[in-house]
């Protein structure tokens, strides 16, 4: 007779991997809804493309690696990678951009490292890094939020959904509309450009593309991710250590620079609500596979990521720093974990350790 007992205690199981991943996907929904509200439905197209590519690549790789396809496809982890990448890149972009990024993330960053649970780097961020290095031009064409044109020009042209689809799949824009007229720099990029022109931060933030705290529209999307992240905390899918350490460190560093020279360095809250800070704090850095397993390690990891994010944003050449900060901290994870081992029961005192 064989019995389930030989494997795991057979009574009422809490969450499975698939359920955990599903809850993370759900937690992204508020941010996505606000994204659609402010930027139109193009993001839904890129999320769909990412999902399709992620599942196809996952199935193909599982097949190639002689792994059971169905159980792994149902674990929702590939979908999550796809969604996170779609949310990190401009939605109004040629279809192959998200497809290439997602396929690279799943095939190279995930499966070549051994598949689910074995990837050293966050796959979505690897995909992002590949895209921003290989296709920098396409990666800078961000949609302007509704009602705002490039640099806040009045009454800008806006594409309807059909026109967006035509551009994504066929690369065709309506007559007399140029891509530059539709897209804009991100709030972070715009800040950097104008700082180079010698303008002061308060003046720059008066521009129409900025809202109450950070970018008009994008700050609201960040609120959505914050809301979803709190849901994950509440559901105990993630622990508080990474988001709190990341946001606190970002706040403190940004705060110090802001206090030193408010005309050159934006306020801490601007950094919280700009770029991928909220998404990173709750959804990207918290990826269990590529982040530390010890609580102390999580604090160090997230603090390091915040420091790097700030440095890359403010002093580096890339539009945002979260992706590279994540990848750089991913490298440090084994070392961090090794040096942050907590003491086990009965070995709290020095003399009890052998």
């Amino acid at each position: 007779m064989t019995h389930p007992m030989q494997f795991t205690p057979p009574i009422g199981k809490p969450d499975s991997v698939a359920q955990i991943m599903l809850k993370v996907l759900l937690a992204l929904v508020p941010g996505i809804v606000l994204y659609v509200w402010y930027y139109g439905p193009a993001i839904l197209v890129s999320i769909s493309l990412a999902s399709l590519t992620a599942l196809t690549t996952e199935a193909l790789m599982l097949k190639l690696r002689n792994r059971p396809v169905v159980p792994f496809l149902k674990d929702n982890s590939a979908l999550l990678t796809g969604w996170l990448l779609a949310l990190s890149i401009p939605p109004l972009a040629p279809w192959w951009l998200i497809v290439v990024g997602t396929a690279f993330a799943i095939a190279i960053a995930k499966h070549l490292y051994g598949g689910l649970g074995n990837n050293l780097f966050n796959p979505a961020m690897v995909g992002y890094a590949v895209l921003i290095i290989s296709f920098p031009a396409q990666m800078t064409h961000w949609l302007a939020p509704h009602g705002l044109g490039p640099e806040g020009m009045a009454l800008p042209p806006e594409l309807n959904f059909m026109q967006q689809l035509e551009y994504i799949f066929l690369g065709v824009l309506p007559h007399e509309v140029s891509l530059d007229a539709l897209t804009t720099a991100t709030p972070l990029d715009n800040l950097k450009t104008h700082l180079h022109l010698g303008q002061a931060v308060p003046r720059i933030l008066d521009m129409p593309i900025y809202g109450h705290i950070a970018g008009h529209g994008s700050e609201m999307v960040a609120w959505g991710f914050l809301f979803g992240g709190l849901y994950l905390l509440f559901k105990r899918i993630i622990s508080w250590h990474i988001p709190v350490a990341f946001l606190a460190t970002l706040f403190v560093i940004a705060g110090i620079f802001h206090l030193l020279d408010a005309s050159r360095y934006a306020a801490p809250l601007f950094h919280w609500y700009s770029g991928a800070a909220m998404l990173g704090a709750f959804f990207i850095l918290t990826d269990p596979v590529s982040s530390p397993t010890t609580n102390k390690g999580r604090l160090i990891y997230a603090a390091g990521a915040a420091l790097l994010t700030y440095l890359i944003r403010v002093f580096g050449g890339f539009p945002d720093g979260v992706a590279f900060a994540t990848l750089l901290m991913n490298i440090c994870v084994p070392l961090i974990v090794l040096y942050t081992q907590p003491n086990v029961f009965g070995k709290k005192r020095k003399e009890d350790r052998r």
Binding site: M5, I11, V17, I20, T293, V344
Partner: protein, 517 residues
């Protein structure tokens, strides 16, 4: 109110205890054939002292304790021993073990029972009596109680009676406390006397209010200064080190025993057995066992050791879709390969399983390092790392990450979203390490023996050479004494001889030294 402490982690699996506490403990009818294993306790197997064909009385010793950690085994009823040989017993391996088969005569004729008042005897005399009465821990480990009472010079400040019973489904201690609290209290006081312990605490999970009330009433009636403490219900609070932590705030250091920090712990049922063994002179012949799960009438039975599990299960009425049986609880128990095995002193619970009660787990997924296992581990380990090390056979690192502090409670497997049988991996790693250490020990011993053997041969060779040289020298000297003065030629010859001898001796010595390298 006593201040209670917390231990890290723990889980709250559905308790499933009410099914088997609705009716009182029932007596299982006498079986027509009892099979009494001679190895029911931790330590050495008892040595059979009866033969096939012998008539035995109820309570007569049939197995003599053999070794320091060992315990006696008795005939649970009067009858005839029909065989002593290997039979299937309740063990995950399903391997047979030495057992005595007893055909009861139904007369229940007792040996002469000699009750003793513990206050009139020394602790060491009482220890001996418990050993001869076959009293072992009834919580599941079946460790001989007399050994736990030999604390030497260690001062015991706190005696803890473990009535936590934290595993789901099991209620035998709960029912015992409800119905026989007075026996437990008397047994606890006996243990306190033997250990010369200070305070006596009973740790009972707060999901057993009836048991706590019964204990409190029994303590009040006895006039003793014991204290029954309701502790929070959380698995595995019944694990010794965790229970001590909750009640005293102290952590038993890794690799040490509770007595090293002045605490000793016994199961409540063991205290009852101690009382019976001394105050009534009755050896441990029966125990209370919960029969539950996929049955019509889940209930606790007092049954004789050796009763076939199949008969106990039949008493509770197994439902038709039963697909297996678990001995012990669902967290730490093991599936019975066969229910024709006998009840033993360690059997606290039999659970009938069905697909509906215990659906087979989905196939395991890879570990995603979510650390839910870390959150629940009561030993504060890093289960995901230990799993990785066990899987990749990095046993040294597993040991460095405190593998042997794992109590195998199964809380990690319980919460694992990937359904990984974590505890199986830890058991595998532990047994591999133990086997390797054993092999290494054997190899070390063999090498030492071999080295000593060689050393001895070389030493003998050297001594022989030295003796020979000394002898020749003496002979030469004596010859010289009486001889006329030597000619110059003779002198040269002799000097040459001396050098040659010295050379031979030198070579012999250097060979010995090289051989030793």
């Amino acid at each position: 109110m006593r201040k209670l402490y917390k231990f890290h982690g723990g889980v709250h699996p559905p308790s499933n205890k009410t099914q088997s506490t609705r009716s009182a403990i029932a007596h299982a009818p006498l079986s027509s054939r009892l099979v009494v294993p001679l190895h029911q306790h931790a330590g050495e197997t008892a040595k059979p002292v009866v033969q096939a064909g012998d008539h035995v009385l109820k309570g007569q010793m049939i197995g003599m304790p053999d070794g320091f950690v060992s315990s006696a085994v008795h005939a649970p009823t009067s009858g005839t021993i029909t065989a002593i040989g290997m039979q299937a017993i309740a063990h995950p391996s399903g391997l047979p073990n030495l057992c005595a088969t007893l055909m009861p005569d139904g007369r229940e004729e007792w040996i002469e029972r000699i009750p003793v008042d513990y206050r009139e005897h020394s602790p060491s005399e009482l220890q001996h009596r418990l050993r001869m009465a076959g009293v072992v821990g009834l919580g599941g480990a079946a460790f001989p109680s007399d050994v736990k009472l030999r604390t030497g010079k260690l001062k015991i400040a706190t005696l803890i009676l473990n009535g936590a019973e934290c595993e789901p489904y099991i209620t035998c201690d709960d029912m015992l406390m409800r119905e026989r609290a007075a026996e437990i209290v008397q047994g606890a006081e006996t243990l306190r006397y033997m250990l010369d312990a200070g305070e006596v605490l009973y740790g009972v999970e707060d999901n057993k209010p009836e048991a706590i009330a019964a204990l409190q009433q029994a303590i009040k009636d006895s006039g003793l200064k014991h204290e029954a403490v309701a502790i929070p219900t959380i698995y595995p609070v019944g694990s010794v080190k965790q229970l001590i932590r909750v009640l005293t705030g102290q952590e038993v250091p890794s690799g040490k025993l509770p007595t090293d920090i002045g605490v000793q712990c016994f199961n409540v049922a063991t205290a009852g057995a101690v009382h019976r063994a001394l105050a009534r002179g009755e050896p441990l012949l029966s125990r209370i066992v919960t029969v539950t799960g996929n049955v019509l009438r889940a209930q606790n039975f007092e049954a004789l050791i050796g009763t076939p599990v199949a008969e106990l299960v039949a008493l509770a009425g197994t439902l038709p879709d039963t697909n297996g049986y678990i001995m012990g609880g669902p967290m730490m128990g093991f599936p019975l390969p066969d229910i024709q095995v006998p009840l033993v002193k360690a059997t606290n619970c039999i659970i009938a399983a069905s697909e509906k009660l215990f659906p087979p787990p989905p196939p395991p997924m890879p570990c995603i390092r979510c650390t839910r296992c870390v959150e629940v581990c009561p030993a504060e380990l890093q289960p995901q790392d230990l799993y990785w090390f066990a899987r990749s056979r990095e046993f040294g690192r597993a040991q460095a990450f405190s593998l042997f502090d794992c109590i195998e409670c199964g809380a990690c497997s319980y919460v694992c979203p990937s359904n990984i049988p974590l505890v199986q991996f830890y058991r595998f790693a532990k047994s591999e390490i133990r086997a390797r250490e054993h092999d290494k020990q054997l190899a070390d011993q063999a090498r030492e023996r071999h080295e000593y053997h060689e050393y001895r041969i070389e030493r003998e060779k050297r001594e022989k050479a030295e003796r020979l040289a000394a002898k020749e020298k003496a002979a030469l000297a004596s010859r010289h004494a009486g001889d006329p003065p030597l000619t110059s030629q003779q002198k040269t010859e002799q000097a040459e001889l001396e050098t040659r001898r010295a050379h031979i001796l030198e070579r012999a010595k250097s060979e010995v030294e090289h051989a030793g390298e």
